[in-house]
Amino acid sequence: MIHAAVGPEPIDPAQVLSRVGSAEDGAAVLFVGVVRDHADGRSVSGMRYDTYHEMAEDVLREIAHEAAARLGTDRLAVVHRTGELDIGEVSVAIAVSSPHRAESFDASRYVIEEIKKRLPVWKQEHYADGRVEWVPGTVPPGTGAPMDPSARERPVAGRGSHTAGGGQVA
């Protein structure tokens, strides 16, 4: 059963892991993203995650289904937290399982990378000196200025990715 959720409830990674696995699976991978205490040399005291909730759950479900196709099983669970998080709290947990390990590693990596590219979630770092800043992000593919029609058919390489290294996980 594919499970994808976005919400303010604290994440229990063990519970997310318990959603996957079966007698035919020899591998399970659990990825946990955690709020860390520094970003670019600045001391971070916490993080706020905002989301466009109605869209985020759709996008996360879509990412989960794409990853499941790579995984070859439907045993995949992903949960993304929103709201105010302290240092050490879990912001995202991804669990997958498959008969062999390669597919599980690949699918879990796919989910976190796609989250960073296109999940409508934003994080605001709270610094120890009291300042707050939105973490620079990535322009999602498939939006903004129209591309030429031939490019539009392709799954997007190239557009958008001025990723900046904000402070936090993964």
Binding site: G33, Y49, D50, Y52, E54, M55, D58, H80, S91, V92, I112, I115, K116, K117, R118, L119, P120, V121, W122, K123, Q124, W134, V135, P136, G137, T138, V139, P140, P141, G142, T143, G144, A145, P146, M147, R152, G160, H162, G166, Q168, V169, A170
Partner: protein, 83 residues
């Protein structure tokens, strides 16, 4: 007949414009790009929005040439930073 659409602003864009959302009247056949221009021409604070922002129409990412219909929900999406 003019149409009315709902513009939504998130995160840094919400901070920029000071609104989380508002209804905007557009001419029939208007595109997302027309909505962006209409808002930016209002001056401050809307002129602080980028000319070519990422947007989602009815919760799906869309290009600026996407035509709009009455009651569409158009979200202005700052660069995303989940994980």
């Amino acid at each position: 007949m003019p149409i009315s659409v709902n513009a939504l602003f998130f995160a840094a864009y919400r901070d920029l414009v000071g609104h989380s959302g508002l209804a905007v009247e557009l001419r029939e056949g208007a595109t997302v790009g027309d909505l962006v221009s209409e808002l930016r021409e209002r001056g401050a604070p809307f002129d602080r929005l980028p000319a070519e922002p990422a947007v989602a129409v009815n919760r799906t990412y869309a290009f600026l040439d996407e035509p709009l219909s009455a009651d569409d929900e158009v979200a202005f999406i700052p660069p995303v930073a989940g994980g």
